[in-house]
Point group: C2
Chain length 404, copies 2
């Protein structure tokens, strides 16, 4: 095994511009702010570039924490049971310190199936819930301007293309994140304005529910009048704008956890907990997932949705049409940050506090889990249902049916 | 730039045996103990092997913290002044948690001159004193069973050999750490017993001072009657034996900080704070370093010895003879863990609490710094001075002159 931290000279300039975009548009680091970077060790060239870009933007201190999936694998494989759920105090203190800070997390798994041969139940159990809860608290309080960006690497490229063609992956990433534009910052501003207009139009229509129809899917889920549709142009409590996902192509809302019925099938593979879930099919009753089937990885989803009470309820509905740059690549990225922006998706677990004005209202789901899975395809039809039961087409053949 | 995390299949077996030795002989991890690993990202294959070996030895939880010199470089180069001495709270909490735990730190700098072109004063300032002080507290209380081991890597090999011959470096490391023996654990037991006998013989002679003579060196330094000579076979307060350095070839003691006079010249280059100090020459008066000269890197040493009151006084004297496996390789490793075991060395800064029975007595130096530099060579003569002024030869031509 040889893990390459690749950053040849021509790529370095691209890497610097990419890091700069993540710092200035993504997290939108404020002068004098502490910046937390969370990166797998294989993403070190990006973490380093982010660090430099953050200091250049006036960061007070950049705190980089490297993660290593092999260390995690060793714990799950060889550690005692108590290690699986153990949370060191220092990680809680570090999580507390995120409030008021900027954060940038990297994605792009260099070994997406590394944990695939481990006991699925132990993999599912291995999580630091206390840390997740602290960070969720900051999210609810809108205390962090954060962003996620991917780092193209050989293992990830190999999973996608069957060969470690990092350059091809870089080109796809540059296209999806608008780094190929002469003025990426301007292109992002325009792009976000269009998504904001879509969200505004949906909010005006005040649908009571959505109805999804497609192969293996016949699913109705309630909307909350208190939760608006929005784009991923977020604002902290202090009003600082940031874009938590780069790329982003979605508009989304928090559904009513109490109202969901039917069956919903995934349309793309889902990278989850070190393995790939394929052909996922969920049966839902009274808002709750009551049955999980899959061609591969069903036990991972079952373990995850039983990790707390809210994990088997829904937290997000997101709409993406065929103009998506991610969708246009025609590539399955095996990375949620990308694949969820290729097409429509739904998440079980935690809702999205930002969709509420002020405190999240009743009906928003609470959980330590938030897992997006893709449901969109040319065959998927999405309707908005009005309070008096009328169906209004929103998506047909991946084409947006409402004004924008 | 491409950083290779190299661990080919045949090397993996060696790596596993090496990690096992570090866990079982070095830190001597106790069943149910928390284990902290501190590793540069380029040492990840070793950190992973240490994690597996620690869990196999019954560790309760293995906490791996990766460091990245490029992140540090960005801070020194681009960060505000306050970033240099800023210590995140979580790092203090993590340092507190080391008490009662095992710790393994890796060495072997992949880019030893990375910080060489930065402002020496900023490099010297960039340290987290509070963390160092917390850990020193645990050391004084003998609360940690810890060890340092090196990871052979391309950059380090290149610094040593002028070419990235990692296999040659691995062979040298395996020789020095007795991994080439059929029974490395048995070989270590025998080796430590011989060093213990040397220490016992010196303790019996009760010298009042040592006198060093050689090219550029004429140096007398007082010994403390309360500080014994010892090998690096350490014991925690609870009596757990461990070997903090692998390799180790030295016997050492804590000198009297109040009594040192003369000039002392280094005999080997010294890797310090991201640069290489060459041709170091110190002038000492009343125990204190009053002048620093060097062919290269003097300002780094000057900055370091002015970082607190104790930094310009001495904390360690160590004797190594020509039987040293490290010395026998004839290689300059540019890594203190190795080079200090090639030949006699002296450290300015913090003394060694373990050399005292119970609380360290008066005369032990206190500092947040502890920097070993090499003074031994075939030309160096070391005498023990008795209380009535008699000189007894200890080392001549790198040959031990006392019974062992």
């Amino acid at each position: 095994m040889a893990v390459e931290l690749d950053a040849t000279e021509p790529a370095r300039d691209r890497l610097e511009r990419y890091a700069d975009l993540a710092v200035r548009v993504g997290a939108n680091v404020e002068e004098g702010q502490n910046v937390f970077v969370v990166s797998q060790i294989e993403h070190a060239p990006l973490a380093r570039a982010l660090t430099r870009a953050a200091y250049a933007a006036g960061a007070r201190y950049v705190d980089v924490m490297y993660r290593d999936q092999h260390v995690r694998k060793a714990m799950i494989e060889l550690g005692p049971d108590e290690a699986l759920t153990y949370t060191p105090d220092w990680l809680k203190v570090r999580a507390e310190a995120l409030n008021g800070a900027a954060m940038i997390a990297t994605t792009g798994d260099p070994e997406p199936e590394l944990l695939g041969d481990l006991d699925g139940e132990r993999v599912g159990k291995a999580q630091m819930k206390e840390v997740t809860e602290i960070i969720r608290g900051h999210m609810i309080a809108r205390g962090i301007n954060w962003s996620g960006v991917a780092y193209p690497n050989a293992g990830w490229a190999n999973e996608m293309f069957g060969e470690p063609d990092v350059e091809r992956l870089w080109e796809a990433v540059a296209f999806c994140t608008r780094l190929d534009e002469a003025d990426p910052v301007g292109a992002w501003r325009e792009h976000m304005a269009r998504l904001e207009r879509r969200a505004a139009a949906l909010n005006e229509l005040q649908f009571d529910a959505l109805h999804y129809r497609g192969p293996g899917t016949d699913f109705t889920i309630g909307l909350l009048s208190a939760a608006r549709w929005m784009s991923a142009l977020f604002r902290t409590a202090e009003g600082r704008e940031y874009v938590p996902n780069m790329p982003t192509e979605e508009i989304f809302t928090t559904p009513d956890r109490r109202r969901a019925e039917g069956t919903i099938a995934s349309s793309l593979p889902l990278a989850l907990l070190g393995d790939i879930v394929k052909g996922l099919k969920l049966t839902v009753k009274d808002g709750k997932i009551v049955n999980v089937e899959a061609e591969h990885g069903a036990e991972l989803v079952r373990s995850q949705i039983s990790s707390d009470e809210g994990a088997s309820y829904f937290g997000e509905l997101a709409l993406v049409d065929g103009t998506s740059r991610v969708g246009k690549t025609g590539i399955t990225f095996f990375d949620t940050l990308y694949d969820e922006n290729a097409t429509c998706h739904i998440a079980y677990g935690f809702g999205i506090p930002e969709t509420f004005e002020g405190e999240p209202g009743e009906g928003m789901n609470i959980s330590s889990v938030h897992t997006d899975f893709m449901v969109g395809s040319p065959e998927l039809e999405v309707d908005g249902l009005t309070k008096d039961g009328k169906a209004v087409p929103i998506l047909r053949d991946e084409t947006w049916q409402l004004p924008e």
